[in-house]
Structures are given as structure tokens and as C-alpha cells.
Amino acid sequence: MNIEDLQQLTQFQVDEQPHIIVNKEICKSCDHHACVKACPANCYTFNEETKLLSVVYETCLECGTCYVICDKGALDWSYPRGGYGVCYRLT
């Protein structure tokens, strides 16, 4: 499975309002950025040059892995507004 194909495989109802907000200042000084690797949907990227952590909330599977493993309290994470976000058809 190629994670790049996620949007072809799984359906999302994208909200214009993000449901994950990262605290870029805290993430700058984070020593592990574990969220980048652990996210099952590959939503996080850390730019080594700019030292900025960014999140693509649009393809978030809402599992909460990042929220639970972040030990810096850098994530403002909530479920999307009703009706938005991932929408499983078969699983």
C-alpha cells in the first residue's frame, strides 16, 4: 500500500476549519517529532531547514495517535465538527 494513495482509498469530507493546530514554537524545540513517523496517515512533516512542523489535517483518520504520543502538549487536537472529517464506507 502506498500511503500517498490515501485520498483515493479513504473518503474525507474536508472542513475549512482545521481540527488540529500545532504550536509551532513548542514543536521547534521538540527533540523527537514522534508524530511525524507515528501518524498512520502521514499527516505531519517537519522541515529541517525552517524547523517548522506542519500538519495536513485534511487526510487525518482521527485516530488520535499524535495526540496521545505528544508529550510536549503541542497539539490542540479535537474531533472535527459533526459530519466532517474521515468517512469510512466499508471498514
Binding site: L9, H32, A34, Y79, G83, Y84
Partner: protein, 432 residues
């Protein structure tokens, strides 16, 4: 339509919908809130709906009416190394008799159907509603605020069946922060494969299904793989502990891809077409990680209550969820009869859980959560087992040892005697 409800249930999963069905049948005003577009839109599990007596009691004809895939006939436990697999396969004609021991199901289909049964009985289902916070009055929970269809919902009793990451339980002060050592993440790829091919490859007929668990193919990360057969697809995935995943610094889908490339797995899924990819948290902390189950005006059920356990052999959650939902509903009925929604009255819920198989099983396997943190269980021991099997079968002109001597020699190559004894005791305490 009543503006004030007897009971508000948050989450139209198996716990919430069965609670709603029970309450609606008792003639109470029930509101069932669901954050997805439809029930099951946010829900995922490996694939097995276990036999659940309360489901059989409340919906005796569900096997004819519910959207089910296959009943599970064959159980396999496989220990893997990158080049081999040692498996124990159990096929049982007694699993061919109803009530079947379990069915593979698709959650969007099954959860929608179950919520529909509650609606038919008179419950009000409201989708597109994310319950965000609880409303308290004089220390008692009296409602929830909703994001999506903005507003407030009020009722005498709230049943939080809002899943593994229950923000409502946390906001009500019933639990601490979620800990990575108590949580696993399940990821799953649904693969389309035609019915005849599935039957041939897994040696099944009619609507027989297989449930295969794999240990040892998670790249040293604590966890395991699974494969369930549906009618025209197989669900393949893995569950890994979050703390171990974090420490390994690996992407879960990369570990899954390696698993799918294993020679044994590749044969099983050859030619299959990816249909859907999903992920969900699983409360794997067991008995000691459970939150408090009730407070004034509120009860917690299903995954939200941490009602899930694994001991390496059994992995149960959906049956505990449905049963806890019904027990919470029974408690709510008593509380409404008495007109008293205090924690004291709702403590009956805890008593009912204690008297049921739920808490008995949670307690029986309370040491299993610790055992599942033994690193060696997930790579070293499968390796030892495979080496023993290889030596046992290989014919190469080298004089043979008797089995115990062979096993001891192979085990000591990988693990020190002291560690072997310590692990043996921990496994023994958890399972024996």
C-alpha cells in the same frame, strides 16, 4: 418532540446503540448523538463481531437481518519470522452451529443497522453532532454541548459511549490523560478478493470465515498482525502499542507494508485490490487503566470505559461494549424510575458490570496487559520457536537431540536463563 430528554447517549457505536435500543423499548425519550455522517462512519475494528448474549437476547433474529459477512469457523495463531511461520490452526464443527462464535462485519454497515434498530424502537438519532463538552449544574452532569449542529442538549442522564479517546470522560473528571503505554493503534487495509478465491485460499466453504492472528512481524514493535475474511474481501492489518511505536520511530504503514510482503502473507493476498485504509485507537491498558465509570448524571460505556482486553489469544471489545451499553441503560431505567440521577444511584452500573462476565474477564486477565509489554514476546520468542521447528524437521546428517534439550539450547542462544525464567513467570501469571 421533547426538548429535555431522559437520556442522552453520545456515540452511535455498538455500546451507544444497544443502550438506546434498551431505553427506547422501555418507553424513555432517548437522544443518540453521532459525530459521523452516519453511524459507523468513524468506526473501525479488526473485523470480528463476537458472539454477545445481550445482542442475541435483544435482537434474536439479527443473524437473518443484520449485515454480516462470514461466521468465524477457523481460528489461527501464527508466529512469524521474516522467513518462516509456525501456526496453530483450529477448525471446529461446533463453530458451525448457531449461535455462531462470531461474524466478520463492516462497521459502517453494522453500526448503521444497529442504530436503525434503536430508531425503530423510538430513539432519536442525530448524526453530524460532535459532543464537545459536558454541561454541569450543581456538580451534576446535565447535558452536552455540540459542535456541528451548534447547540446544547440536556437530559437527566448522559451515557458517554464516545470511543477510545473519550474526551467526555476526561472533561467529567472521570479519567486522567490518555497514556501511550495504555493505548494501541490499529491500522487496516481492506483488500478486495473474489469469494471463490477466498474460499480456496483459506480452505473455507459457504459463509465460513477465518480469523488469523500473527505475532512476530511487527519489526520488534510490541503488537501483532491480523487477517479476517469477509465475503469478498480480506481485512489485513496490525495493532501496535503507541509507546513502542514511538520508541521505534517507524511509520506504522511501513511496518504494515513489510508484513504484506512476507512470503506467507503475499500468497494469501495475491491479486487483491486495496479498497479502504483506516486507523483507530484501542484501549489496551486493561483493568488497571480503566477510568471511573460513573458520576452524578453520567455513565461511561464501551471503549470510552476502557472495556477491552487482550491476552495475546483473545482480543475482545465489541462484546464488552454492547453488554456495558445495556447495563448502563438498565441502570438509567432504574434511576429514572426513582427520579434520582446521583452517583449513588448510578453506582448500580458498576455493580452490574462487576457481576457480569465483563469485569470478571477484565480482572482475570489484569496481568495480561503487563505481559503484553514483554518486548521479547514479539520478535525473540517467535524466532526461537521457528528455530526449534526448523531443527526438528531439517534432515542434514547431524545427530538429533531430544525435544527438550533442543528447545533449551535454541532458547538459550537468544535469551539468558534468568530472563527466560522471569518471562515464564510473567506469562504464567497472565495466562495460566
Amino acid at each position: 418532540m421533547a426538548k429535555y430528554f431522559d437520556v442522552i447517549i453520545v456515540g452511535a457505536g455498538p455500546a451507544g446503540s444497544l443502550a438506546a435500543l434498551k431505553l427506547a423499548r422501555a418507553g424513555l425519550n432517548v437522544y443518540l448523538l453521532e459525530r459521523g455522517k452516519y453511524p459507523g462512519a468513524k468506526n473501525m475494528f479488526g473485523g470480528l463481531l463476537h458472539n454477545t448474549p445481550v445482542l442475541n437476547e435483544m435482537l434474536p433474529d439479527f443473524p437473518e437481518r443484520a449485515p454480516l459477512e462470514r461466521h468465524v469457523y477457523k481460528k489461527v495463531l501464527a508466529f512469524m519470522t521474516p522467513t518462516s511461520a509456525v501456526s496453530l490452526s483450529f477448525e471446529n464443527e461446533n463453530f458451525e452451529q448457531p449461535p455462531y462464535n462470531g461474524y466478520t462485519v463492516f462497521r459502517p454497515a453494522f453500526d448503521s443497522w444497529l442504530a436503525g434498530e434503536a430508531v425503530k424502537a423510538g430513539a432519536l438519532l442525530l448524526c453530524d453532532c460532535t459532543a464537545e463538552d459536558i454541561i454541569k449544574k450543581d456538580g451534576q452532569v446535565t447535558g452536552v454541548t455540540v459542535k456541528g449542529r451548534e447547540g446544547e442538549m440536556r437530559g437527566n442522564i448522559i451515557i458517554a459511549a464516545d470511543g477510545a479517546l473519550s474526551f467526555l470522560a476526561k472533561k467529567a473528571g472521570l479519567r486522567q490523560d490518555f497514556k501511550s503505554s495504555d493505548m494501541g493503534v490499529g491500522i487496516k487495509l481492506l483488500l478486495g478478493l473474489n469469494e471463490a478465491t477466498i474460499n480456496e485460499r483459506f480452505h473455507l466453504v459457504r459463509d465460513q470465515g477465518a480469523d488469523i492472528s500473527f505475532v512476530g512481524m511487527t519489526d520488534g514493535i510490541r503488537g501483532g498482525g491480523f487477517l479476517y475474511t469477509n465475503r469478498e474481501s480480506v481485512s489485513v492489518g496490525m495493532v501496535v502499542h503507541l509507546d513502542s511505536l514511538k520508541a521505534a520511530g517507524k511509520a506504522p504503514y511501513e511496518v504494515l507494508n513489510e508484513f504484506l510482503q512476507h512470503p506467507q502473507i503475499r500468497k494469501l493476498i495475491k491479486g487483491a485490490v486495496p479498497l479502504e485504509y483506516s486507523a483507530h485507537l484501542i484501549p489496551e491498558g486493561g483493568f488497571t487503566a480503566m477510568p471511573q465509570l460513573y458520576t452524578d448524571g453520567m455513565m461511561v460505556a464501551g471503549d470510552a470505559a476502557g472495556l477491552c482486553y487482550t491476552n495475546g489469544i483473545n482480543l475482545e471489545g465489541i462484546n464488552l461494549a454492547m453488554t456495558s451499553g445495556v447495563l448502563a441503560a438498565e441502570t438509567a431505567i432504574k434511576a429514572i424510575e426513582a427520579g434520582d440521577f446521583s452517583a449513588k444511584t448510578l453506582s448500580l452500573y458498576k455493580k452490574k458490570l462487576d457481576d457480569s462476565f465483563i469485569m470478571k474477564d477484565m480482572k482475570t486477565f489484569k496481568n495480561a496487559a503487563g505481559m503484553m509489554h514483554l518486548e521479547r514476546l514479539f520478535q525473540t520468542y517467535p524466532q526461537v520457536l521457528a528455530s526449534i521447528m526448523e531443527k526438528m524437521y531439517r534432515v542434514d546428517g547431524v545427530p538429533r537431540s531430544k525435544l527438550l534439550r533442543l528447545a533449551r539450547k535454541e532458547a538459550l542462544k537468544e535469551v539468558g536463563l534468568k530472563d527466560l525464567i522471569v518471562d515464564g513467570i510473567r506469562i504464567g501469571r497472565a495466562l495460566l
